[in-house]
Amino acid sequence: MDPVIVAENLSKRFILRHNHAGELKVRFLGLFDQSKRETLEEFWALQGISATIGRGEAVGVVGRNGSGKSTFLKLVAGLHRPTSGRLLVARGARIGTMIELGVGFHGELTGEENVYLNTSIHGLSRADTESIYPDIVAYSGLEHFMDVPIKNYSSGMHMRLGFAVAAKLNPDILLLDEVFAVGDADFQQQCIDTITDFRARGKTIFFVSHSSDAVRKICRRVLVLEHGRLVFDGHVDEGLDFYTRLLTGEPAATGELATEYEAPASVE
């Protein structure tokens, strides 16, 4: 198997700033009042993660809120820098992220102008965009609205256009974070179909989700994260069972995967 993402003992530390001294006022008050002084606290979002993801694999990542799923995804995307360990990503692979849809859209610009702006944010040239533009429009189903400013779009239209752009960028590695949580049944079905199609074409998929149904539909392998550590790596059925037991095992958890659940401050 040809690896495209390799994590070795990967860790990420965030510095939490209490009373962030980004303002002069805070610095000044801190001179007199100990409690208003900026204090720094380490927070390890990921600790010692090791996993290898091969080309064409569809891997689901599940875990509670605050377990480090999104941080893992953002490290792979290159949005955050790892603190230690290694994180190898295939060179030259185009990485597509779907974290929020329609990021970078500007309300005053028309749909068409936004598509061109958005694809260039991902590094596409004008010629590249021109060749995929008809696909994007057809895929979003917004043919009649491309010359309308996006501020007049409904939130559903906004999202569909964002998804169409992200899908037609045709990435080699697709990083998805909870994009189905929003949107109606039709839209969710379109997302699932698109991703299934990606998988069929041998693209690598890294899918962060709370929804075990969606994970089961798309992925064969699942990683379970708990408090920044990798606690399970294996077949999707066993993994989701493991995750359900993990949730119900905790007295505070009610066991529903889709519910918002804040991780407790201390473990065990």
Binding site: P3, V6, L10, S11, R13, F14, I15, G22, E23, L24, W44, L75, V76, A77, G78, L79, H80, R81, P82, T83, S84, G85, R86, L87, L88, V89, A90, R91, I95, T97, I99, E100, V103, G104, H106, E108, L109, E113, Y116, L117, S120, I121, H122, G123, L124, S125, R126
Partner: protein
């Protein structure tokens, strides 16, 4: 946790003595050069012997201050730049005091000391920044066979310049977006950009012709040259403070070279500036019957220098605001002071002679004065203007790039 701390740097570098020697050479060259900048031609030859006599005292004091302020023990860190700035100031003041003590006032120029300090600080800071950029460039390679290690990847100037070219479509689109947003839906559109300079020039011309009665012949033209160049800089600086912090969702979702955001802000203002110049310059040349002259061909050269300078400042401000939100307010104050320290609404020739050099050393003066010399006086920009402009442009650009790139990875965590 037994993880290596990335912030730790090698504490001792074998090159300390080499750094000290290089600084010595620069300090020895800087003091006579400051005299050369202060005094023109024959005057300079009269003053040179005094300058050379004072040289050992000045250079000695400067190096002593650099050592005492521990510039050499904190090599290769960001704090070293700040220490350098302070140490060179202390050293120069100490040097001036020693010269006055031993030699008295004869042949000693206070303006030359200020120029010496600026030259010294920018040269010492400049080569250190160059070295830091080089280390960023030649850091551990992140490439592992067919893969790239995200933990080792670091932004550097070479890769950033290459990717700026790759992302030229994005820069163009960001500039176009701002232009469209600014003028879409307004009746006068681009004409609004012309109204502001016209009003300013009318008001200042009336004030300086009838109230203060200090205006030179052709004052509106002189004013226009400085005013347009100034508003390009001032609005680019103001816009760049928001370039990073107002693009939070973009920064959290998409990877692209972050430097694009402040650079696009500069290019947007440059575009506006050039369009305005294109309208006003022919009008002024016609109205004041100025025949085109050779020196005007140097306009693009100084424009490039001013753009480099502005990009350096924009990078500093964009990253600075992310870490320190007060930057915006500090900038407002700095801009209003800088406006009066730049010869825009008064010609440099009306400044008392002993302050002329100081005014010329204010960051934006060299560019404004160069434009005035080319278009208004139809002269070639003087040696001093070239020296100051070139130093500020290259120095600011390098320092801005280095500091921006060294914090680029942490910007997203500040939003």
């Amino acid at each position: 946790m037994n993880l290596p701390d990335r912030r730790r740097r090698p504490s001792a570098s074998p090159g300390r003595l080499a750094s000290l020697l290089l600084d010595l050479v620069i300090a020895v060259g800087s003091y006579p050069l400051a005299y050369r900048i202060r005094f023109a031609g024959p005057q300079f030859h009269g003053f040179l012997p005094y300058a050379l006599k004072a040289l050992p005292l000045v250079v000695g004091a400067q190096l002593l201050a650099l050592i005492v302020c521990r510039v050499y023990s904190a090599e290769r860190t960001r704090i070293a730049l700040l220490r350098l700035l302070i140490a060179s100031a202390i050293g120069t003041i100490l040097g001036a005091a020693l010269v006055l003590w031993f030699q008295g006032l004869t042949g000693v120029s206070r303006a030359a000391f200020s120029a010496d300090w600026l030259l010294l600080a920018s040269a010492l800071g400049g080569w250190r920044t160059g070295r830091a950029l080089w280390y960023q460039q030649s850091g551990r390679s992140a490439i592992r066979g067919t893969m790239i290690d995200r933990a080792v990847e670091r932004p550097n100037l070479g890769d950033t310049i290459v990717s700026l070219y790759q992302y030229r479509e994005l820069i163009k689109n960001l500039v176009m977006k701002d232009l469209k947003l600014k003028y879409r839906g307004s009746v006068l559109g681009f004409l609004w950009s012309l109204v502001n300079p016209i009003v300013m020039i009318t008001v200042y011309t009336l004030a300086f012709t009838f109230v203060l009665r200090t205006a030179v012949h052709g004052f509106p033209f002189l004013l226009l040259i400085g005013m347009l160049a100034w508003s390009f800089f001032a609005s680019a600086a103001a816009m760049s403070t928001g370039a990073i912090i107002d693009s939070g969702s973009l920064m959290k979702n998409v990877t692209f070279p972050r430097a694009i955001l402040p650079i696009a802000a500069v290019i947007f203002n440059l575009t506006q500036y050039l369009l305005t110049v294109l309208v006003f310059l022919p009008i002024m040349l016609t109205v004041y019957r100025v025949t085109p002259a050779g020196p005007m061909l140097l306009y693009p050269a100084f424009l490039v220098l001013q753009v480099l300078f502005t990009i350096g400042i924009a990078l500093l401000l964009a990253a600075g605001t992310a870490f320190f939100r007060d930057t915006r307010h500090l900038l407002e104050i700095a801009l209003s002071a800088l406006f009066w320290l730049t010869p825009i609404i008064y010609p440099l020739t009306q400044v008392p002679e002993k302050f002329q050099l100081l005014i010329l050393l204010s960051p934006l003066s060299s560019f404004v004065v160069a434009y005035q010399q080319m278009f208004f006086y139809r002269q070639w920009p003087s040696f001093t203007v070239w020296a100051v402009g070139l130093t500020y442009a290259v120095g600011t650009f390098l320092i801005g790039s280095w500091l921006f790139l060294s914090v680029e990875d942490h910007l997203v965590e500040q939003l």
